[in-house]
């Protein structure tokens, strides 16, 4: 009866996993940041019919929704935008495949086990160090072994397996010496204990494992929330398209579209596939793909790319390329390749290890050979050799970099700078060139009507009143400018928007038009301007300027004062870039640069020995961001650009980058000092250990003393 009961309860407990949940939806929520956002998202989703449960993860900025099969992720995105929260559809399959959460939890368990065992063994060791003799010492040693050996067998697995894998392919990695030290220390201690010896190093082996695991876990945690740039780019792509077939439109996944299919893109939607416009006219915002600030006009036969935003009118597109072959995907692949190339950067810690590891092993072998030759006692010689291995344990060396980067990371955070990559700090300290993107980085990405007095108040009022019906960026900014300078609205009748051209209406029985030069009959003019035509009067020019960020100039001057070269690489038109460069006093600029050219430009600078800090915000910058020595993006940047860069600047102040550079330089100095301290400590400890004076107590004291010195030195980062 009992067994029946427990069986049936087991089935019930197991049921929800495989049972009624039809649909697991993941949404990315880039804007959420606080407790109110969590409850807003969860309560609005919970009210949605068909949703069983919704759980926000603020660390990963995403929500997991369990729903029945009637609910689609698109409904939920619309529901959330209704309460003012931006949500992006995520591909559940990709997320499951790249879920790092399992790895993180496994590491955390190992950290916990190693820490638990290290503390307990340390307690037993205190008894031994304070002079336990004979049977008591042996008992304490055996209990230590009982706790330490299983704990090591479990917790040290990541190092042992990685070392094994490296040895199979005939490589030497940092895991090899760590594993050698752990195995030798544990094995030798076990032998000593069984022979009733005085010295056992169980506590040292566990402390070493614990410190190194903790370092790995913190490193993993820091990077878990930053997913790969390629994954984000795929998420930006519109996953669904409206296909027109035999006069009917149907919504289907982009994967179901074939070249030659006709697709309808409404105003405000992203274009799902590369293609050619066959019907309709509109304006296309391609600033994220090309850096051009001014929306481009699209009419019949215009070529459009996936990821561009359709602004004003409906377009029918004939598909040319789908999914894998779109420009967006090609860019994503380029970013992936550039990222693997950058991962080859060898950090100070790695370079120090490359020197330290062989040195320590040679010294240990020398000590063994020397003692065996002079005393002829194998056990004594082994003991000394292991003492050398343990007393030079890479704890101080292992702390030299992480302690500094933790302190510096805190200081940077208080100045609104987030570091995403562990080596970003070191790389930032070494830069000698800064390359800025223009649109959205040096400028706010918004237009401002530059009122230089050439436009009369009457014309201003007419234009602003026409613009009131349009969502075009130029219109929106003109309406705002009119409101700010107290212009009263003019009476316009029959206003209507002509997609791709402008707005027209009637004012005092005259036809008025505001829009593109060609449309109102003005001479075509490059640059950011629009024209107003009243009846038969000659067209009046409205000039727009991009607003340069207030802090951009200070930031650039700060970099120049440190002797760092400043450049602009922009995809925008010459005129627009020249104006901004001139305002900021930058002589070295390039305009009309394609995303691929931006990347190759960065590679070329690197080939000339320059270390480049790339600052950018758009999709067209992602390649350059990923291939630069170090890269930064403002928080207002597109998600993909933020993911591709090492540093994210929160808020709108670019000057933070200068301060960040100062902190990075100071941090680099502390790291080098820490290596000096570790070397000085080893210079004293190694000879003592080789001469046979080292005891487990001396090793424990020296280990903590050197680690504390290194940590305190790290606190001096300013």
């Amino acid at each position: 009866m009992r067994s029946n009961l427990s069986e049936s309860s087991a089935t019930i407990a197991g049921a929800p996993r495989s049972g009624p949940i039809q649909n697991r939806i993941f949404l990315s929520l880039p804007g959420i940041h606080c407790g109110n956002c969590i409850s807003a998202v969860e309560s609005s989703l919970a009210r949605f019919p068909g949703v069983l449960s919704a759980r926000v993860n603020l660390t990963l900025r995403r929500v997991a929704v369990d729903a029945d099969s009637t609910v689609s992720s698109r409904d939920l995105v619309e529901e959330l935008s209704g309460v003012g929260i931006e949500a992006l559809e995520l591909d559940a399959d990709t997320i499951n495949a790249s879920d790092l959460d399992e790895v993180g939890r496994a590491l955390l368990l190992r950290v916990g086990v190693a820490g638990f065992a290290a503390l307990n063994v340390m307690l037993f060791s205190i008894g031994i160090w304070s002079g336990a003799e004979n049977a008591t010492r042996e008992l304490l040693h055996w209990v230590s072994a009982l706790v330490a050996l299983p704990a090591l067998a479990y917790a040290a697995q990541p190092f042992l397996l990685a070392a094994f894998r490296a040895l199979i392919v005939g490589r030497l990695s940092m895991d090899v010496p760590i594993s050698v030290a752990i195995i030798l220390a544990a094995g030798m201690s076990l032998y000593e204990v069984s022979a009733g010896g005085r010295h056992a190093y169980f506590d040292a082996a566990l402390a070493l494992t614990f410190f190194l695991l903790a370092g790995r876990f913190l490193d993993h945690r820091a990077r878990a929330s930053a997913r790969s740039a390629a994954l984000e780019l795929a998420a930006l792509e519109a996953p669904r398209a409206r296909r027109i077939k035999m006069g009917k439109t149907e919504i289907l996944q982009v994967g179901g579209i074939y070249p030659g299919d006709r697709i309808l893109v409404l105003a405000g939607e992203r274009i799902p596939v590369d293609g050619r416009v066959v019907e309709g006219s509109s304006e296309i915002d391609r600033s994220h793909l090309t850096g051009e600030n001014m929306p481009a006009t699209a009419g019949t036969d215009s070529v459009v790319s996936a990821g561009e935003l359709n602004l004003t009118g409906a377009l029918t597109i004939e598909a040319a390329a789908i999914g894998e072959s779109t420009r967006l995907r090609k860019l994503a692949r380029a970013v992936e390749i550039a990222e693997t190339a950058r991962n080859k950067y060898s950090s100070y810690a790695n370079r120090a290890a490359a020197f330290y590891v062989p040195a320590v092993h040679i010294l240990a072998v020398l000590a063994f050979a020397g003692w065996y030759w002079s005393e002829g006692d194998l056990r004594l010689a082994l003991n000394v050799a292991i003492a050398v291995l343990i007393i030079t344990c890479p704890c101080a060396l292992g702390l030299a970099v992480p302690a500094v980067s933790t302190v510096a990371g805190g200081r940077l955070f208080s100045r609104n700078i987030l570091l995403k990559s562990e080596t970003a700090l070191e790389r930032l300290a070494l830069i000698d060139t800064v390359v800025f993107d223009k649109t959205g980085t040096l400028t706010s990405g918004k237009f401002k009507f530059s009122d230089d007095g050439s436009v009369s108040r009457r014309d201003f009022a007419i234009a602003a009143s026409l613009c009131a019906i349009s969502q075009h960026p130029l219109s929106v900014s003109l309406v705002k400018a009119a409101r700010d300078s107290g212009i009263e609205a003019a009476r316009i009748a029959d206003a209507r928007e002509s997609p791709g051209n402008g707005i027209e209406g009637r004012w005092r029985d005259q036809r008025v038009r505001f829009g593109r030069a060609e449309w109102v009959g003005a001479s075509p003019n490059s640059g950011n301007c629009a024209f107003l035509k009243i009846g038969r009067e000659s067209p009046i020019k409205f000039a727009y300027a991009e607003s340069v960020r207030n802090d951009a100039r200070n930031s650039i001057n700060g970099f120049k004062a440190r002797g760092i070269e400043v450049r602009i690489l922009s995809g925008d038109l010459e005129e627009a870039v020249a104006r901004v460069a001139d305002q900021l006093g930058i002589s070295n600029w390039a305009a009309r640069v394609s995303p691929e050219q931006k990347m190759s430009e960065i590679f070329e600078l690197a080939a000339r020995g320059k270390r480049v800090l790339m600052v950018g915000d758009g999709l067209n910058d992602t390649g350059a961001l990923a291939s630069a020595h170090v890269s930064a993006a403002p928080a207002s940047a597109l998600d993909a650009a933020r993911v591709a860069s090492d540093i994210v600047v929160l808020g709108t102040n670019l000057e933070a980058l200068n301060q960040g550079h100062g902190i990075a330089r100071s941090a680099r100095k502390r790291i080098l000092e820490n290596f000096g301290i570790a070397a000085a400590y080893n210079a004293i400890a190694i000879p003592l250990a080789m001469l046979g004076f080292a005891t487990p107590l001396a090793a424990a004291i020296a280990m903590s003393a050197s680690s504390l010195t290194v940590t305190f030195n790290s606190l001096r980062v300013r």
Partner: protein, 52 residues
């Protein structure tokens, strides 16, 4: 000296209880969203049972 045996047993027991609690917490995803949980504990939403 028998008391030493007792103390050692007690130490190991306390350690194992702590370890079991820790393993339970990690398996239960208690550490999967530290940032969100720090807000949730201050929130006014009442949970009948923790949401999964």
């Amino acid at each position: 000296m028998d008391i030493v045996l007792l103390l050692i047993a007690a130490t190991v027991m306390v350690g194992i209880i702590w370890l079991a609690a820790f393993v339970w917490a990690v398996r239960n995803k208690q550490f999967s969203d530290p940032k969100g949980d720090s807000f949730r504990i201050l929130g006014s939403d009442y949970d009948d049972s923790p949401k999964k």
